[in-house]
Amino acid sequence: MKTLLPLLLLAALAASGAIDANAATVVIGNGGGRLILQVGSTGGTINKVNFSIPGASVGNGVAALSSSVTPASPTCPANTVLIDAQARSQAANPRTATLTANSSTPLTAGTFTIPFTQVSWSSSTPGGGPNGCLNAPITIPSGTFNGSVGQALITFNTSRRACVCAQFSYLNQNVVSAGTYTGRVTYTLAMP
């Protein structure tokens, strides 16, 4: 409510004709640190990246793009996943935020496994839209999961935003047992 009072006053003065609305001042409170991390699109479920490999292509070394991403992202192109990391700190206390991925638990189908080192991604910066990566975000580089607990994807200073649409690929370098393999990658945004 305290925050709204100056705005209401300015707006009331503007409405009465006392001040021409030719300029605006935005005051950002010097609050505590804040991290925002979004991976995926709208909806109540974690995004799922699906790969379907033709029988004639299993293990032939030709990377296969994901066949779909569910649910679809309203911000990113079809078949891609929005990864949006934002970090904020006090003005007098600039800090560094790091986005990491934990891909240490392989995909499994019963007792069979595929390591996440067989999954890579290609990054592109999404356009606008209500949740788009506006204001020239930092691009999270393309890469391949390394199967570790804390693979650093990008480090950036506070008051910045790292954001991409990621298109995932299955590298398909090995003949593996038939089955439906599932697994989960956890992204962590941290600011010490």
């Binding site: 707006a11 991290l35 995926g40 995004n47 006090q90 069979f112 599932t182 990658v185």
Partner: protein
């Protein structure tokens, strides 16, 4: 003034509402954390990879041509048990066939059969046959990709050793020889028209 105030409040409410709706949408995997000390927040992505069952099997030339292995016995050696190497294969200077089996659905079984109706390789004109037991097969990888022993009746099997899980990925050469243990009438025996075609079938459960 009251009207202006109401309009102003309404406009501000709409404006703030729109701004908030844009800034904080209802994302399940959008996490926010605040505070003065160290901060950390997580979000997830699930992956699914569907690998279908498949089985690839090769014996001899890969292009689809059926190889013809020919054994030519010198007259001086007919029936003297001197093994006669074949020609016409795609490996071992013609004496052998390249064999490979690649599958991912479990234990593969290779079964031999032939088109002689149990009689063996027939003479071109005479009612005389050479049994398939006279044709020997030797694998270059007896440990992992053994050959099935040829027989008139067919049905002998071999089991390639699984590499890992349900995956079989084995290759070898199978070398053929005519055992030459009996004296037979002169002539040509076999070819595909006279019971001389062997069919190998790889199967996976």
């Amino acid at each position: 003034m009251n009207t202006k105030t109401k309009i102003l409040k309404t406009a501000l409410a709409l404006s703030l509402g729109t701004a908030l709706a844009g800034a904080i949408p209802a994302h399940a995997e959008r996490t926010t954390t605040t505070g003065g000390g160290a901060l950390s927040t997580t979000a997830h992505v699930d992956f699914s990879i569907v690998i279908p069952r498949f089985l690839t099997f090769r014996v001899g030339t890969a292009s689809g041509t059926i190889d013809l292995i020919t054994f030519t016995v010198p007259a001086a050696n007919v029936g003297d048990s001197t093994p006669i190497a074949g020609t016409g294969g795609d490996a071992g200077a013609g004496t052998a066939e390249n064999v490979s089996v690649l599958g991912n659905g479990g234990q593969v079984t290779i079964t031999e059969s032939n088109n002689s109706a149990g009689a063996g390789l027939a003479h071109a004109t005479l009612a005389e046959n050479i049994p398939y037991t006279e044709i020997t097969t030797t694998s270059s990888d007896t440990a992992n990709l053994q050959r099935p022993v040829l027989s008139n009746a067919g049905g002998n099997t071999s089991l390639p050793v699984l590499n890992s899980g349900n995956v079989t990925n084995r290759s070898a050469t199978w070398t053929y020889a005519y055992a030459n243990t009996a004296v037979h009438s002169a002539g040509t025996y076999g070819t595909s028209a006279k019971g001389g075609r062997v069919t190998y079938t790889a199967s996976m459960p």
